[in-house]
Symmetry: C2
Subunit: 167 residues, 2 copies
Amino acid sequence: MKFRIGKDLKEKIEEIAEFVMEVFEEDYYLLHPCRDFLKTDEALRVRKSDRFYLTYKGPRVDEETKTRDEVEVEVKDPYRTLEIFKRLGFDVFAKVSKLRRIYRLGEFKICIDDVEGLGEFIEIEVEGELKDREKVLNLAEDLGLKDPITKSYLELILESNVNTNHV
Amino acid sequence: MKFRIGKDLKEKIEEIAEFVMEVFEEDYYLLHPCRDFLKTDEALRVRKSDRFYLTYKGPRVDEETKTRDEVEVEVKDPYRTLEIFKRLGFDVFAKVSKLRRIYRLGEFKICIDDVEGLGEFIEIEVEGELKDREKVLNLAEDLGLKDPITKSYLELILESNVNTNHV
């Protein structure tokens, strides 16, 4: 689950959770040559992080926690991967850059993301089955987090671009 | 360049060239969901070898030596890579398996391939620019190789399947 956060909560996480690592991530999102991903609610992403990944995201299976069916593979070179998809008719249509600080709190993985053009967010994940969703909801409540954001950073960036264009 | 070979030439290569390695390769060829690769003369391949690769092959730029424009990236898991492409609407339509013995002879890389369902072939490559094509032609002549095969193993296998089906 994902929420917008301010400075106070960030400091609180620093206190109670164990800092794991910081990583700068660049995500390239691709459009399919003959399928409308926005309509089918799918996504294809090439991620530059500490390593490089190609990820397919299927439609959301749970609206509240935005859980998706994912298939991911590590690749050795993000630019060659993008080049192959370009040759296949896929187009890079958006790029999402963020500085991600990762923490561990018991069984939870907590990420504080500073997203270029959007601001700061907290993401809470728990490894395991869908039934653990309840645990995430409880922790979010304990932290005083309200109004979970079900939209992806990609969607938020696309929305903010549209708004910018209309101003 | 590629030629069919018999036992004699195989023994000659063993004598004059330096054996490098032997590897069993399985190639999965994919069909594009909205482009006819057979008409555009392109190919998309996932290779299981000593490592795993995703390779895009563009149209042939030289009919005689079957040189193609290629973009390749190493991937960590061939099955996940195939799974991602299946989700994107690509279909595995052919599999080519071969035992490849690789040799080095000066600046040449020589492969002797035992291809499942097709028999034995020799492939000669030289690293570098297109102008080195002449060198490959000369070595092939020295070895008494005639009738280069410009078709890929994939094409040969598809042809042999068609023939089998018609008998």
